[in-house]
Symmetry: C2
């Protein structure tokens, strides 16, 4: 018997409600970010629950998380059960930290700009914001302004 829950949604319905294209939904499923039941004919039937996950995914992507990171964070949530307050709270804390870090980095960069680009000086020797490399060479290696999270996404040859 392959009966599907009553309130189940087709891919088109989920697409309309979530704002993701059907192709994206299938992609997310292949990538293990969401799941779907199947109708007797083999078509996808989503639980309403998936809309929350998708909303979460959307927001996470906006913040700059990769799908890998999103998957990791979502790993802390049950897929089939309605997440409890504790579930979301756990996730929330992971995310909150990321946001704080990112905000901090941007503020530092902005303030750095104000006193660096803004003034027109742009001294290669002194501008820590604009010249991490030269600073690193002069004062030793390590982070200058940006926390890891913002530096990691950049290519290998760059560090």
């Amino acid at each position: 018997m392959r009966t599907v829950a009553q309130g189940s949604l087709t891919v088109g319905e989920v697409a309309r409600r979530s704002g993701f294209a059907p192709s994206a939904l299938r992609y997310y499923e292949r990538e293990g970010l969401i799941r779907a039941d199947r109708s007797d004919g083999g078509q996808r039937r989503y639980q309403r629950l998936v809309l929350r996950r998708l909303a979460f995914i959307r927001a996470a992507r906006h913040v700059g998380l990769t799908l890998d990171e999103v998957r990791e964070v979502l790993g802390a949530l049950p897929e089939s059960r309605t997440p409890t307050r504790a579930d979301w709270s756990r996730i929330s804390h992971l995310w909150r930290r990321r946001l704080d870090e990112q905000i901090e980095a941007l503020v530092a960069l902005r303030d750095g700009l104000d006193s660096c680009i803004g003034c027109g000086c742009l001294s290669l020797k002194r501008c820590r914001t604009l010249n991490p490399q030269d600073v690193a060479a002069a004062y030793g290696p390590g982070a200058v302004y940006l926390p890891k999270r913002l530096r990691q996404p950049l290519a290998a040859g760059e560090g």
Copy 2:
């Protein structure tokens, strides 16, 4: 006569000092972000000025600007002349705005999370942070939390 300025730098030197791989420097040149003179034998010879542009490019990339955007912003700078205080100031303002927007978006998202995910409610009908789509359906279209800058980079099928 194809004599090159005295203080000119080879691709390897620029790579070491800027932290970009030589291949990235060539790529940036093809993309019109930087330029180089040539030695009599046809090898690249960079003016020291390029280091500033590269530092700027690095910082811009960290902030999430695409190369297209960077090119656009750099378009406001002269390529061969030493940029004046006014040049940098103009650029700085463009950038400052972008940073402010981005910070604002992240703060809004974070604060939204505090009262939305954080509390464990996650109501599909009421959570504006996590459910822009449903909100849009219920209250009409338009931005919910994120300013354009943070929403644009996402795929077409998404909006």
